[in-house]
Subunit: 235 residues, 2 copies
DNA sequence: CTTGACAGTGAACATTTGTTCTGTTATTAT
DNA sequence: ATAATAACAGAACAAATGTTCACTGTCAAG
């Protein structure tokens, strides 16, 4: 059977290019027949056929039964583009800024913002596409820390990495959490497992041994790790 | 006789405001009837009447007999807005989508998109805030891979991590690169150092030993690592 | 008061434009 | 080959939309 290839055919691209050019030139979108004339498609139904596909693929939005009711969302290169302030706002919603509240160092308690934390310092925030974050999380529970030193390498986290944390006081099994070990005066990142009366802290690096804690009271869960980012910026 | 006042009447302003709002909201201009509905003008002919005036005054351009053929040139404040998307574009530029072209596995050559790569599959792209990327990089040189298996743990890269790569064929000292080692049939991520005639490949984990390559010809640089992302999505 | 430009109404009309339908031609998997 | 699906054509249709026109009301100058 004939199968539709994923991606964009030359005609798809041609239509997208024309939509962009026409809108730019005239200030309003073209009609279906105009699209056909400029892309060597002789039938309006075929144009509609392609427009429907482009809509499904998320390149355009259409309003049915509205003349020229075509809204270009992103071009063939995949770059988002829109005339709408509204769209810009929407796009900005895809981007969230997470406060970078300090450093996480093995030998010091790590900073945790207070629960009523709503302060925003534009200089010390990192921008993250919302799609990278667990969708359910409410954003005001998130904060970021920069890792200092090599002490977290058993958690596969390097000096300079950024960890995005979520405020929790109770960890669930299998989650990677930041923990303050009261008896060692140490902050550490480990996978958390509660096993009967004791707590097992498993390093991310599978070749390393877990820490078994028999007294759960000395384990202070500071937060749950949601995302780790490492920027290699030597270029 | 009654004279027409110079300048804009409240209705003129209302129409201009609506034109701007509608275009930005929907991505295409309104019809005459829509304008009437939203500006308390009951007759289409009156709307046309005002539109003609606005055209003469240079606020809009119209194409006759074309549905929604209205192009807003300047708003009531007299500010030119040439398809004014500047603000929107600026906002949208902060977010880039990088194609996720495949997996990186130690035992297999890693996929590298061709240089004329412009294909975009909406399903397999990851959104990244531009601020996380080296600012100078041109975006079409970037692609992303998902790490498969535990073989990159000496590069501090875990199973499931996403690495964002930049296409290069020559590495500079100190850069983390993806390398195909021809003699081992293996892909690896290492810090690259050219030292006289030989190449030193340094693992990111400082406790691990470097690989010294005496014959640089067996080192194929596949790309430079720009960013590593680890999502912990167990919530 | 009359007049004429301005403002507004509503309906009829002519096009433009999107949609649907029936059918034909390629392409590809089995 | 055969069948299923994608790609395409063209006409007919329905709806959206711009235009025109005859008509009413307002207001200020003559």
């Amino acid at each position: 059977m004939a199968r539709r290839k994923s991606g964009l055919s030359p005609r798809h691209k041609k239509i997208l290019a024309f939509l962009e050019e026409y809108q730019q030139d005239k200030g309003y979108p073209p009609s279906i027949r105009e699209i056909g004339d400029h892309t060597q498609i002789s039938s309006t139904s075929v144009v509609k056929y392609y427009l429907s596909q482009l809509e499904e693929m998320g390149y355009i939005a259409r309003q049915s039964n509205v003349s020229r009711g075509i809204n270009l969302i992103k071009n063939a290169g995949g770059n988002l583009l829109q005339n709408a302030r509204n769209a810009a706002a929407q796009a900005l919603d895809q981007l969230v800024t997470i406060p970078l509240v300090g450093n996480i160092v093995a030998g010091e308690p790590m900073p945790v913002p207070p629960s009523d934390f709503s302060y925003y310092d534009p200089d010390s925030g990192i921008d993250i596409a919302r799609s990278l974050l667990p969708s359910a999380d409410s954003l005001d529970q998130l904060y970021a820390l920069r890792v200092h030193g090599d002490s977290m390498i058993d958690a596969m986290v390097n000096d300079g990495d950024i960890v995005v944390m979520k405020k929790v006081d109770q960890a669930r099994n299998g989650e990677m959490v930041a923990i303050w070990l009261a008896d060692r005066d140490e902050t550490t990142l480990k996978y958390f497992y509660q096993e009967n009366e004791r707590v097992r802290l498993q390093p991310a690096n599978p070749s390393m041994q877990p820490i078994i804690i028999d007294d759960p009271s000395i384990v202070e869960v500071q937060g749950k790790v949601v995302l780790v980012i490492r920027q290699l910026e030597n270029a």
